[in-house]
């Protein structure tokens, strides 16, 4: 079995169920769908307007929550030393970790997003686009957020630091993604937003692992 494969299986096992997985997605959207009508007022037409965008809000915040443990847990128990001393480069380690993070946390959130949006009154015709943009955007969140997680290794209040580093990076995908959904609903050109979102996520996947590996090396020295 290759190092790549065993690491991928381990990362899936570590993040599925513990701080990730379908349970996180469901509870997050349940909380949002309950609190949003209380916060904005229960008028159905008003809720229907904010519903698609709030799916993005939940996705971004849930990504932040689970990112804190991504590198920190391996740093705390010494496993990051071991991961560095494998025959697989540290860049690939970071890539695998973020990919597993996306599959166990981002994907369930993306798949649950349309259900929450419809429950809040969004048009069901939007649901495929909500799920698709959330899936693509979640990939960007995982890889961009991973940079913040790697940079904050060893700091006691890692979550705060990650939020500060990562929130500006999270702004573009939210604008492109939520913008595409809004444009689609209004019958305008929505493909541009989707393409920009995809470009953002692909850039994060391509460049993020190098930044994460450098940050990990720095933390271990």
């Amino acid at each position: 079995m290759s190092g790549f494969g065993v690491l991928f299986r381990r990362e899936l096992a570590l993040s599925w169920g513990k701080g990730g997985g379908p349970l996180l997605a469901v509870s997050f959207y349940a909380a949002m769908a309950t609190l949003l009508p209380l916060a904005t007022g229960p008028a159905p037409d008003r809720l229907a307007i904010v519903a698609p965008g709030s799916a993005w809000l939940a996705l971004a915040l849930a990504s932040l929550l689970s990112l804190e443990r991504l590198f920190e847990r391996d740093y705390e128990d010494g496993a990051l030393d071991l991961l560095t001393l494998g025959s697989t480069p540290l860049e690939a380690v970071a890539f695998v970790k973020c990919l597993a993070q996306w599959i166990t946390t981002g994907a369930p959130l993306a798949l649950a997003a349309p259900i929450a949006s419809i429950a809040l009154g969004a048009s069901p015709s939007l649901s495929w686009l909500i799920a698709f943009t959330a899936l693509v955007g979640g990939l960007g969140f995982s890889f961009c957020g991973g940079i913040g997680a790697a940079l904050s290794i060893g700091s006691r209040r890692g979550g705060v630091l990650i939020a500060v580093i990562v929130l500006p990076l999270f702004a573009p995908p939210v604008i492109f993604g939520a913008g595409a959904i809004e444009a689609y609903g209004a019958g305008l050109d929505w493909k541009t937003g989707l393409l920009l979102l995809s470009a953002y996520s692909l850039a994060a996947v391509g460049l993020g692992p190098f930044a994460m590996a450098a940050a990990c090396r720095n933390a271990l020295s």
Binding site: L14, D81, L82, L83, T84, L85, G86, L220, S221
Partner: protein, 204 residues
């Protein structure tokens, strides 16, 4: 495969505090080196510098193979074990899952992991979660990785501390077998190792 490690004129610092300078060490295949020195002298830092984690302020660390000098980065990823104070075991997973991951990650196989389990008598511990193991048991799981994945240079930081007398002796036999097959061991210790070793003082 590493046949010699050469440390030349090494200077290390942690932050602004210099640990030592002008440190020389040559270790060749079949040798055991016991690093001694006071707390904070830089034993752990030296091991981590050899493993490539800490960049030296001055000096060189070179690995030599049968055909000359080896590429350091690649050699570290393939032929070196570092066992520090932390075992790198995830508390929520079973001992066997963690051992299997560590063994595969460092180049071993299912069969070698099974063999290491027998060598370190881990049979009954395998299905237990790591959080339920004692410090000595955890250390045995971590040591099993060294046995299961064939790597030449072992860098050990206080490897014996949590082990009882019987397991210290048993680990002495394991180290002797590794040395007999052309391996090298550099161990930071306060207590003497259970096998003959060349003592090198750090920060003297």
């Amino acid at each position: 495969m590493i046949s010699a490690l050469t440390v030349t004129n090494l200077a290390l610092a942690r932050g602004d505090r210099p640990l030592f300078e002008g440190f020389d060490l040559i270790v060749s295949a079949g040798e055991v080196v016991a690093l001694t020195g006071a707390n904070g002298a830089g034993k752990t830092s030296l091991l981590r510098a050899i493993a490539g984690f800490i960049r030296p302020d001055a000096g060189e660390i070179a690995f030599t193979g049968a055909d000359g000098v080896l590429e350091a980065e690649e050699t570290r990823g393939r032929d070196l074990h570092l066992l520090g104070h932390l075992d790198g075991l995830k508390s929520g997973r079973t001992a066997w899952e963690e051992l299997l991951f560590q063994v595969h990650w460092t180049g071993g196989t299912d069969a070698s992991a099974e063999a290491a389990c027998t060598a370190l008598d881990l049979g009954r511990l395998r299905p237990l979660e790591v959080r339920k193991l004692s410090a000595g048991q955890r250390r045995r799981v971590a040591l099993a990785r060294l046995v299961a994945s064939p790597r030449t240079l072992w860098l050990l930081d206080e490897p014996l501390t949590p082990l009882d007398a019987a397991w210290r002796a048993r680990f002495g036999e394991i180290m002797a077998a590794h040395i007999a097959s052309g391996g090298m061991i550099i161990a930071a210790v306060h207590d003497p190792l259970p096998i003959p070793a060349r003592a090198v003082e750090v920060g003297a």
